[in-house]
Amino acid sequence: MKTQILTIKTYDDHKLWRKLKAGDEKSFSLLFEKYYGDLINYGNSFSPFAEKVQDCVQDVFADIWLYRESLQEPNVVKAYLLSSVRKRIARLYERDHIFRKITTTDSIEFLFDFSIEYELIDDETTAERVLYLNKLLNDLPSRQKEALFLRYNQGLSIEQVAEMLDVNYQSANNLLYRGLLKLRKEWKGSFSILVLLSSGVL
């Protein structure tokens, strides 16, 4: 059932992409409406300037339309969009830096903080543990956080995470692994014992 859902979703994106490529404005609008929110939220993780982020996201879409004929069809449309937005924001930052005569930064920083699903927590013990986990997560280096976000919140594959962060597969895997490893280590409790057990199984 799960695979079925996923297939329909990807098929839809690719169908939209192909129609868009053929000049179908409706498909362009549908794709825009589908992902605009996600892209804005992701973009806002890098920049406190909401207006600039909106501009970046809109420019990404504008370019897709303008250069649709020469664009390759991405494997995963969402990953392509996220990545395009990230690149554009990174460029914006570099440009601002250049014009401010400050040495350029290597990359932009993911300034995002995870929050807590309070609505789904109904007892105090859980609330405490979740709060602690959340703090650990938010204390992670920003790259690890971003990798976790892309992998588990945006549902990208490890390959796609690697591509977006411009690292190889192994490094992306490490980023993800180290992120959770720290949680496992620091979260003392049954957590760690279980990890030991499960790694024994492997």
Partner: protein, 369 residues
């Protein structure tokens, strides 16, 4: 089907869409609840994964559908602007453009289109188009000017356009622009300021690239140690296409303010660079003339002449005593040199005129009104 029976790590659960759906939306499509309770050890792992998911919420700033609709509209507007060029920019969407370029507006020079062309000094293969070939194509009877000195030379063309030709560069141009187009041929580097004439587009031929403008100013730069041709636009609209002589199918690319294009001479392909500052070579090659402002507000004429001297590397001779108390407020950003001088002279007074002779400019004046 039961892939999850082999789940041993938190990651397995976190990445499972159906698991996420169950934890976060309480939609249990696959009977996670029952499955979890089957084994105690499993239940522990599931619980940990669940807690982690609860701690990993992404604060979704809900974007209303009206906001999305508005965003979509402004995106179509952006597309229109990019497609139609500067005219639409002025009328429809100054606002969006302003936002977009706000970051660099402060350091924007004064309405220039800058183009950089890079020559390839390495082996020239069959598709490379040389200056000589280009000249031979033209039958208008061209004048060639070569700058063998070590400082830029100013050339004024018959239509009033000016070209600041850099050392080791040459420009061929007809004495008088006949016909419907103004064609010039460049080898090296030059800063162009084109007098506006929508009926007679101005065309720069350089290497494999043809650059077409209607009237504005831009830089063409052709260092001989680069395998690329690069075109960089500051303001206005520039059309770039490959020369038919390359044997390539004719592809035309429209560049708008602060967009750039890199033409790879090796395989004749265009790469659009939507952000010029990404490219350090482009940024570092900004010339004097692009950095000086030509917006003057109540500025002594003497100072204005000094600015022009610095920008064009010319010498201006003027009656200092007669002009020492003259102030001007004027915008000379998007004007060729001769046009700038004309405007200044006219502003000073009726009995003021100028004469250009190479890098020497002589102003005659009886003082300001």
């Amino acid at each position: 089907m039961q892939k999850r029976n082999h789940y041993t790590e938190l990651e397995d659960f976190l990445a499972d869409k159906s698991f996420q759906l169950w934890v976060l939306s309480k939609i249990d499509e696959q009977g996670w609840e029952e499955w979890t309770l089957e084994k105690q050890q499993r239940a522990k792992l599931v619980e940990d994964a669940r807690l982690l998911l609860l701690a990993m919420k992404v604060p979704a700033h809900k974007i209303s559908s009206s906001e999305i609709t508005a965003a979509l509209q402004s995106t179509w507007l952006k597309i229109e602007v990019k497609e139609n060029g500067s005219k639409t920019i002025k009328h429809n969407s100054v606002k969006y453009l302003k936002q977009y370029w706000a970051g660099i507006a402060a350091s924007l020079f004064f309405g220039l289109i800058s183009l950089w062309f890079y020559n390839n000094q390495f082996n020239i293969n069959h598709t490379d188009v040389t200056y000589k070939e280009l000249i031979e194509e033209n039958s208008e009877g061209l004048v060639e000017q070569t700058n063998n000195s070590n400082k830029p030379q100013i050339i004024t063309l018959s239509d009033g356009s000016s070209v600041l030709l850099q050392p080791d560069s040459k420009l061929s141009y007809p004495k008088i622009f006949a016909g419907n187009e103004r064609k010039v041929y460049l080898c090296g580097e030059g800063f162009f300021e084109i007098s506006k004439n929508p009926k007679k587009p101005f065309i720069v031929y350089a290497n494999e690239i043809i650059t077409k403008v209607v009237g504005t100013s831009f830089r063409v730069r052709a260092y001989s140690d680069h395998p690329n041709v690069e075109v960089l636009v500051r303001t206005g609209k520039v059309k770039v296409s490959s020369n038919e002589l390359t044997g390539n199918s004719k592809q035309e690319i429209v560049l708008l303010p602060n967009e750039a294009l890199r033409f790879l001479r090796k395989d004749l392909s265009f790469n659009i660079i939507t952000n010029i500052t990404e490219d350090k070579t482009l940024v570092s090659n900004v010339g004097n003339i692009e950095q000086l402002s030509f917006e003057f507000t109540d500025i002594p004429v003497v100072q204005i002449f000094k600015t022009i001297e610095q920008a064009y590397l010319v010498e201006i001779d003027f009656p200092k005593d007669k002009l020492k108390d003259c102030h001007l407020t004027t915008s000379l950003s998007d004007q060729p040199l001769s046009e700038k001088l004309k405007i200044i002279c006219k502003s000073i007074g009726n009995d003021t005129s100028f004469e250009m002779n190479g890098n020497q400019i002589v102003i005659t004046s009886q003082g300001c009104n």
